[in-house]
Symmetry: C2
Subunit: 359 residues, 2 copies
């Protein structure tokens, strides 16, 4: 199979060190480790501590492992919402979070704007136990400004604030005093094989789950927060988890720490600027998100109109694999992931190639 | 790290072809495949069809992927039980299935016998929507006879029969007309890295889930049966799954099909007979399960009493790694997995070593 540079927004290009880590994992028998062994506990600890250092997660937050961010959507609703959540919906993934709340028989209210747009003000029309925000809408490339996300807590101190950062972490620097739970999956910005979600929560989330449980409300079984946290305190998981995935995440996080999160952020901004500059000046291809403050740095969506198909083929001939537009935009847009694994050189090649594209 | 032959009952020794398959997967960019791509659909199809051929799963059953067998416990209760399940409990894992039903606020009745024992007759005292059976109790090495498992359907045609075969498949040959759902996780008999569960269901299970849903009962969200089956029909999954895990399972199943399931079954029985013969004749070390018809072929538990620690060290010096006893038996028992990856030669070495053991 020919090797491409993969710019799809997930599963995306592997982080460039992953294959070496897999080889070492097999040499060290990581795939056959018991999840009740001391070695596994040290792997859990290393991965969790690495994430704390990389993302600035406070010591009093818990770092939990699930099988996907999709699972986290479900667990958040089960554990943190008795009756009513409120969702800010501006694309397919923020909508799915809201639908999951409805499937779990909660009253899920929402504020909805068109694809490609963000929200005007951070108010909710009626009280909600949980406010659900999607930092980076992977389907459209809209990123909510951090001030917007951080603006809820003071206004709604009794609501928990949940942030889906599936396709933006490790880039954004959240203020953990202004949010209550944050989650992502590893096959996007962390460049790992799919099959692992990371769910970070504060004490308020645990208390809420305990309260629901004490009322006799079902909060799930092995992956309810009480069970997850009681195991996490021992650096364990309730079930046999994706041990290899947790190990690989820890190793990639160590690699990112060596590179430095500030370098990663600066490079992310440099690469995003290259692409948006090009799109803004291009005759045929335009940025889908026009408001500069809402343009995602990590998933850049281009309106390519009639050129979508020919541009895709042209890029593929150069060994560059763009992501399709999402859903109804499949034939008119392309999406470009700008993750830590995509080097400046790869992005310069991508941008230069698009610039040189002639129909 | 020194290389051991791993006889722990899970995660156990990798199937001997896994590392080669991982190398090929990375060469072919499997870890970065989109789960909405045609290539992924063909991987799903190959794995599901391979399992059908290997285990004799009928064409009208659905083969679904979850993150673990623990998850399947939860999903079975959510989707197949409105009020009442009945569990046959004879160890830690059959008990956990029952507890999960209780955590999900169902009335979970149970028939319980002591560890090391099986059940006298297959009757339940009061009607249950689901009868939950653990074919092979990994904690104690008790295997329920297939006639026992198959005996419920005629007696209780209105109950669904669920069979946990986590640590016995691919060895047992179930009669799929006598059960309704069957599941396992890949890190035991299939010798794969943990992080994937396989859930097989018939049409009656799907109908039950649809009935609960139509009554407004919550059956979960992305992994409810309606969602799982509608995606499985397209050889897809609702969420981004453990793509690499599904690929590796398919490859190992193909390897097993080439070897032949009958050969695997015969070798399993040969290796089990070697071990039980030894234990029956040994002065200090005895089989924990004494009734021959309940002795598991795939997880053999030895009562080692005061010799547990010294036998463990002795075996480890020979590069043989036994599994600890489970729970309260940790200091007095050892468990030996007898899975398809454990060769006749490896088992002969194990048995000869135990035979030569002198305190």
């Amino acid at each position: 199979m020919r090797s491409f540079i993969n710019f799809t927004p997930g599963p995306s290009q592997l982080y460039f060190t992953v294959e070496d880590h897999v080889r070492k994992a097999f040499r060290d028998s990581v795939p056959t480790l018991s999840h009740r062994s001391k070695v596994f506990e040290s792997i859990y600890r290393e991965t969790a501590n690495g994430l704390r250092a990389l993302l600035g997660v406070p010591d009093n937050w818990y770092i939990l492992f699930t099988s996907s961010a999709t699972e986290v959507w479900e667990r958040i609703i089960e554990n943190l919402v008795e009756e009513q959540s409120h969702h800010f919906v501006n694309g397919a993934f923020s909508l799915r979070f809201c639908e999951i709340a409805q499937q779990l028989n909660r009253k899920a209210a929402f504020t909805r704007v068109l694809e490609g747009q963000a929200f005007i003000n951070n108010t909710i029309p009626s009280p909600a136990e949980l406010i659900a925000l999607t930092h980076n809408e992977t389907s459209t490339g809209v990123s909510l400004p951090l001030e917007f996300i951080h603006g809820f807590k003071a206004r709604y101190p009794n609501s928990l604030v949940a942030v889906d950062a599936v396709s933006s972490l490790p880039y954004p620097q959240f203020d953990f005093t202004k949010i209550d739970t944050l989650f992502f999956s590893v096959q996007k910005g962390f460049g790992l094989p799919a099959g692992l979600g990371v769910w970070m929560i504060n004490e308020a989330c645990l208390s809420k789950a305990e309260t629901l449980l004490s009322k006799g409300i079902c909060i799930g079984s092995y992956h309810n927060l009480v069970s997850l946290v009681s195991h996490a305190r021992k650096n364990q998981t309730p079930e046999t988890p994706n041990v290899l995935g947790i190990y690989l995440l820890g190793k990639v996080v160590q690699d990112m720490l060596r590179r430095g999160i500030e370098v990663i952020r600066r490079e992310t901004e440099y690469k995003a600027a290259l692409m948006y500059n090009l799109l803004t000046q291009h005759d045929q291809i335009k940025p889908f998100v026009t408001a500069k403050e809402h343009q995602s740095k990590t998933v850049i969506v281009a309106d390519c109109g009639n050129y979508t198909d020919s541009l895709t083929k042209y890029l593929q001939q150069k060994g560059l694999s763009p992501g399709d537009g999402y859903g109804k935009f499949k034939t008119t847009q392309l999406r470009f992931a700008n993750f830590p694994t995509h080097s400046k050189e790869q992005f310069e090649l991508l941008v230069d190639s698009i610039e040189a594209f002639k129909e």
